[in-house]
């Protein structure tokens, strides 16, 4: 299994405060990897640093390319895409324009296929294509943010808290779609506080606490870990293994 994304010994700081310490992670082709952890553990900071929004000390390689000299736009062109926690949509522009801009770095002919793909994944967006992004509901905005990222045909989609503030029925819909992405050949790096949902669809998982990975393994193993079960899943497993 070749690593699509490889991060080793990553450190991210806000001034003198180190928010991420000596973190290493891998995401392979067609793999869903999740990072779970409490609020403030450094999960979002790590994703932003991988995308180039924040400076990262350490080595990052994507599809065999060293990412250190690349800025955000070059990383997008290389096939990396981030759906940030605050979605960062173009609120005063309509759904169609938001999606069209998602395909800014790919050829026009490919963009037409991307539109079809996104509208198939999120039929709701097709219904609302002329509506301003800022007037959509929270769930629809999340769909649009994911749709916009997928328009650029990324190899790896990084999702930061896609379920945050959404109704359970919408969350289920979003997670179902994330599962479908793997079948479509897109790898996913998912940061989630909703550990239960994340572990159900992920292949592998990392557990982050205070800026460090304290645990990693297959999602199944992590889900059955006693400490994870107690801290993040809200229950004690019978016969769950300790760390």
């Amino acid at each position: 299994m070749s690593a699509l994304l490889s991060v080793s010994d990553a450190h991210v700081s806000y001034g003198k405060v180190e928010a991420v310490r000596s973190v290493s992670l891998q995401v392979a082709d067609n793999e869903i990897v999740t990072i779970i952890g409490a609020n403030g553990a450094g999960k979002s900071t790590l994703l932003n640093a991988i995308m180039g929004v924040l400076p990262l000390k350490g080595a990052t390689a994507f599809a065999g390319i060293d990412m250190a000299p690349l800025d955000i736009e070059d990383r997008v062109a290389a096939g990396l895409s981030l759906v940030p926690e605050h979605r960062e949509l173009f609120g005063t522009m309509n759904v169609e324009d938001n999606l069209q801009l998602g395909a800014f770095r790919i050829p026009k002919a490919t963009a037409a296929t991307s539109f079809e793909r996104v509208y198939t994944l999120f039929p709701r967006l097709k219904e609302r294509r002329k509506q301003l992004a800022g007037t959509l509901s929270g769930g629809e905005q999340q769909m649009l943010a994911m749709g916009r990222a997928l328009m650029g045909a990324p190899k790896l989609l990084m999702l930061d808290e896609p379920s945050l503030g959404l109704a359970p029925i919408i969350v289920a819909d979003i997670f179902r779609t994330i599962g479908e992405l793997r079948a479509a050949g897109v790898s996913v790096l998912l940061v989630e506080q909703n550990a239960q949902a994340a572990l159900q669809i992920a292949d592998r998982a990392y557990v982050m606490e205070l800026g460090e990975f304290i645990l990693s393994g297959s999602a199944k193993d992590i889900a059955s870990n006693q400490r994870v079960a107690a801290s993040y899943l809200g229950f004690q497993h019978e016969g769950a293994s300790g760390i």
């Binding site: 995308m51 929004v53 000299p69 955000i72 736009e73 997008v76 062109a77 895409s81 981030l82 940030p84 960062e88 949509l89 173009f90 609120g91 005063t92 522009m93 324009d97 069209q100 801009l101 998602g102 800014f104 770095r105 916009r148 990222a149 328009m151 650029g152």
Partner: protein
Amino acid sequence: MNTTIMLFLLQDGITNGAIYALLGLALVLVFAVTRVILIPQGEFVTFGALSYAMLATGQVPGTAKLALAMGIVAFGLDLFDIRRSLRPTRILRAFAFNIVLPAIILALTYGLAGPKTPIAVNIALSLLIVAAIGLFLYRIAFQPLAHTSVLVLLIASVGCHLALQGLGLVFFGAEGLRGPALSSAALTIGPLRFTGQSLAVYGLTIAFIVALWLFFGFTLMGKALRATAVNRLGARLVGIRTTLSGQIAFLLASLIGAISGILIVPITTLYYDTGFLIGLKGFIAAIIGGLVSYPLTAVAALIVGSVEAFSSFYASNYKEVIVFTLILPVLVLRSLAAPAVEEEKD
């Protein structure tokens, strides 16, 4: 006042207002995309107008050399930026854009300048020169500061204005210049006489506004510029280079400034520092439009032009005072209507 005088003043006001509208739109565009309050917009007007006026007399304006000098500085900055990955293609691209392009413009200016050069060629040369200056101004002064606060950008903007104004004095001298009219045609409707020049002002203003509307509404690059204005991080996350957006905004602003200057210079004598005052009036319109609304800016510009025309009739000594006072009630109303905002942190 009789109706004829009123119509004359209104005509005058609308002609000036159309120019202010163009400048106001350029200011809104640049601010929305780059957060720069473009004080040197007035210098684009002066440089465009006076380069055109000098070319009309067969001389080569110093602005053509300035464009090349700025290109050399920009090339140096580009090399510094890519110093960690100095690939030949990147160096060649930077060289072609920063050195070859302004060198061609300078060569064309030397080759084509002459007392019998057609007006259209002189206009094209003036536009090329000012467009290059606009692009390199962004590269040199604003691109390295793109992530700083609006205040820092404003200080840089004032600095650019002062530097360019000083260079304007060197290039064009303290004496004013006047350029040839675009057309000598005239049209009389009732008591009003429309010269070809004023019709060109209306026509080009409307054409520019329609072109901007089409550009922003229907082209991918126009939408990318709007997206950068709405959400810079969002734009970067879809791969839109904010530097490219900034370059396009400055290119459009410098072209709009130069066109405005070329439209005015046959009507009134322009000096090296006149552009600042004209730019400021466009700025008043842009402020009334809240630095965000294009239609409101255009309407405000027509009001500014009309108020200026009427006040120059009634109280010409206080003309500028009255025009600039327009901004006060707008600022008071806006500050009352808008909720208190925290000071910018970035």
